[in-house]
Symmetry: C2
Subunit: 546 residues, 2 copies
């Protein structure tokens, strides 16, 4: 017997309809590529999303056809999110920092029919467009009068001309909530990129999860600035969660340096922001160097890679900004866990809670976690035992696009769990901590050394701006850890001092064998350290004494 409640599919269009009807006057503020500030409302965004929907239909893109974006965080990207997905097409957000060869591969693999791109990527598109036969229409995200006449790209149109002639009224279609809504390729370090295909259902359920009090606690009073790119797992779902609660959105465009972010946060009275630790290092460096304060910023969602304790302490103690440590992946929509206290922590001060926050938090309802050993058995939730981290839930990947494989591991009830490729512990209270990527763990003498632990200690040293730890082959111990360090400007530190810094902090055999000072460490497109590149750079390096 079925229940007798109304049958409404969970559709992304319902988010923009809701924001328009119930929070229509809330601001959407964008720093544009041109550097100026664009300002409008959810109601405006809704009307222009309708125009996008008509434009996509007029272009002949069929249901589920892919419309790609090469774009920063901004209002036009937001309109593409809602207009394309709302109309039943798939918005395919491409990471513009990929190598042109990868870009071509991805556009062809996805069979993108329309590709919308920022003016900053015009040279890139000029270089690749002839290799993208599926793209019938190139849309430059600019005003009609800014379209270059000599781009050499056939079928190029300005975004404003593309949508300008369309009606801003559109009846959002109703369809199966499991339909594809968004697409994002993983920046896999090995093999071809793989595409994750989000559904309307997964996106809506994830947005509810993101807004919960123990995750972002997002409300209609919030002003959310997603620094995390909209081409990186939908900016962690923040553009959807903001519509769900009627929050304001502030988009930084391409200006992600500390000064630009700080000024935007202050000018727009941002209350919550979201991004990776390297972004926050830059922001902290700017505010610290200029002795600045945050007037309204209250919360900071940190994900993408582990947040060092020093960063959490600095934000909370020195700037009064609550750090919310979270974890997820492209395959998990992305939020799987977030750190929030339990009642048992209520008698602790903020300072006493901070050391707990190096853990990535606990499961958000909707997902479940487990950790398993090499034999596939559950390992204890004792906060110490490592295991491969598995996750399941309605916003977790089942299979990659185009039969690139379903990696799920079945349990005794035949339920599929996604293996994250992370090694983690879970404690008795359900708090999970990523110990390492399974491929980055340093295997020394049969024991595992977490490269992340080594790095976190290093960045707590005042002279260290950035640190990376990689395993280097060793004839006796298989691998030994080596620390690569970028020094903070104007502060000196020696190899020996840094190694001594570890002495009371970890077991002796876990201390790196060497420190290498570098001028810079390369970051990937999502702001993470590229360890594959570091290992390449070290391929002729020899450990001391070997």
């Amino acid at each position: 017997m079925l229940g007798l409640m109304q049958d409404h599919p969970l559709l992304i269009s319902s988010l923009i309809e809701f924001a328009e009807r119930h929070h229509g006057d809330r601001a959407i503020v964008s720093r544009r590529v041109e550097g100026d500030i664009h300002r409008y409302s959810w109601a405006d965004a809704a009307r222009r999303s309708c125009q996008v929907a008509h434009a996509v239909e007029a272009e002949g893109v069929p249901f589920s056809g892919r419309v790609a974006t090469l774009a920063w965080n901004g209002y036009r990207h937001l309109e593409l999110y809602y207009g394309v997905s709302g109309a039943g097409r798939v918005v395919h957000t491409i990471n513009p920092r990929l190598h042109p060869g990868q870009l071509i591969w991805i556009v062809n693999h996805a069979e993108d029919q329309v590709l919308c791109f920022e003016t900053s990527f015009l040279p890139l598109v000029q270089a690749i467009h002839t290799h993208c036969p599926t793209v019938r229409r190139w849309v430059l995200l600019c005003d009609a009068d800014k379209l270059p006449h000599d781009s050499g790209i056939p079928n190029l149109v300005s975004y404003e001309a593309w949508i300008g002639a369309q009606s801003d009224r559109y009846t959002w279609p109703r369809f199966d909530e499991n339909s594809a809504a968004g697409m994002c390729y993983t920046s896999g370090t090995t093999g071809d990129p793989k595409a994750v295909l989000y559904s309307h259902r997964s996106t809506i359920l994830h947005a509810y999860g993101v807004a919960l009090p123990d995750v972002t606690g997002l409300s209609a009073c919030d002003v959310m600035l997603p620094v995390v790119p909209m081409f990186h797992v939908n900016a962690w779902g923040t553009p959807y969660a903001a519509a769900l609660v009627g929050a304001s959105l502030v988009f930084p465009g391409p200006a992600l340096d500390g000064k630009s972010l700080y000024e935007l946060i202050e000018a727009e009275k941002v209350t919550i922001t979201a991004g990776v630790p390297t972004i926050w290092q830059m922001l902290l460096a700017h505010v610290s160097a200029n002795k600045l304060r945050f007037s309204r910023l209250a919360r900071l969602l940190i994900g993408g890679s582990a947040a060092p304790l020093a960063m959490i302490e600095t934000f909370e103690n020195d700037y009064g900004v609550k750090a919310i440590h979270a974890w997820g992946m492209t395959e998990t929509s992305p939020l799987g866990t977030a750190w929030a206290p339990k009642a048992k922590h209520m008698d602790l001060s903020a300072q006493q809670c901070q050391p707990l926050k190096v853990k990535q938090g606990r499961a958000i309802f909707g997902v479940d976690l487990k950790i398993i050993d090499d034999q596939g058995h559950d390992v204890p939730w004792d906060g110490k035992t490592y295991g491969d981290l598995l996750i399941k839930g309605p916003w977790i990947l089942r299979a990659y696009y185009k039969g690139q494989g379903s990696p799920l591991i079945r349990d005794e009830h035949a339920l599929g769990w996604f293996p994250t490729g992370d090694v983690a512990t879970i404690d008795a209270d359900g708090y999970m901590q990523i110990t390492d990527r399974s491929k980055d763990v340093i295997k020394s003498g049969g024991e595992w050394i977490s490269s992340i632990d080594i790095e976190n200690i290093a960045v707590a040293h005042p002279a260290v701006a950035m640190a990376a730890c990689v395993g280097v082959p060793h004839p006796k111990w298989d691998e030994r850890p080596v620390l690569l360090v970028v020094k903070r400007a104007g502060i000196e530190v020696s190899r020996e001092e840094l190694l001594r810094f570890y002495e009371d902090k970890i077991a002796k055999w876990q201390i790196p064998d060497d420190v290498i000072f570098m001028d810079s460490i390369a970051l990937g497109a999502t702001g993470k350290i590229l360890k594959t590149k570091l290992r390449e750079q070290l391929k002729d390096y020899k450990l001391p004494g070997v």
Copy 2:
């Protein structure tokens, strides 16, 4: 093309599994019928819910078969919520305050197969059981050694014996999320009661909505005491939302007087509670008379009927407890709207916000509202124009059980909206205010007078403990309002003084024609004033001068 995310139905069993795995040690505290306090954890509740599931299966109740409850808010009721629904059967919560004849009608209409009841309802069940042929098993919510031997009820078993022999391990089945999970009859004032059949999907989506920051803002640090009965629209979904976030639950049993509630709130460090205004009047009377304070109580969800401004002010200004005014019905799961500020209110003080809080708040994402005129056309959202309130969403009723009718009104897109039977305004910011029940509105000389407005003014007078306004036939004006008042003990007020109290507050023609002082005003089973009964009592009454 479908998305490629995991396929997990939204099932109530996932809530109890989640609470067990991630918040297993959080307390569930219950004041029992016997008066003592029972204390255990979500993990215990989960294990005993498994036993319930086995017991229901052993009883031969088929999938979707109804298991009824006549029970207070307590841990056994919670186990029935999860054990019965989780196993794919339907938990049918019956209001024990109904007339025995109505009870019999409902049990037969629902075809309940098992009926679980508190010891306080033994005489009631003794009186009705022979009229309930579908019930094959009566379960008394007591320990095995407390079962009376001479009850006269065949197939009677104690709850503890019923579940005691069953395993506390159970693999929750997976099935269509649209399956029926819960059933609740409306206490309709006209015609036969009608049953609302909640689904697993509607229950989970509603629970996400309840927990949102702009609704209850429920977190794992909260201790939630639902005063609203579990037989009344699932205690507004709080038992589900608490599991979703890992909050603690405190159940008051049958002791809903001000003293008992206050003591439980203090002893268990309750942070949030939920109930109808009449309950809060009693609680305020107790704390005021005894000069008490709340040590941890921070939020108070008020629904079921309109919260008077005086009550909101008293809680917020005198006791520091935030009042959350909400609105819903049995047919809406129930939460449709809740009051929370928007950013534009952030510069107002709490005191300045309070007058806004007499509105019932704004739509929670998932539902949408509209107000229409007699011709079915949308009326403006200007905060002044009245209209019939309609609502739609995945946790809103489509049809009543057993073909008792689908009341939906189709819009121009053929989407069905549920007509609430309420008359309301919506303002430009989406805040809705119930003006009246359409049947309680007093129609005087072609204009409408809101009975609720008249009552709210009356209860703001210090001498008024309770007030009700009803329309009385008038030869010239069709109807005229009459105010019925219960005076506060020890404070005198005259008819003339009360009528003068209205003078600067509403238009002259809206002022009641008369005041009738009463010793008491009858409340219905859910704590609402029974206006039908008042109208009956007034059937021989004549207006002054008529």
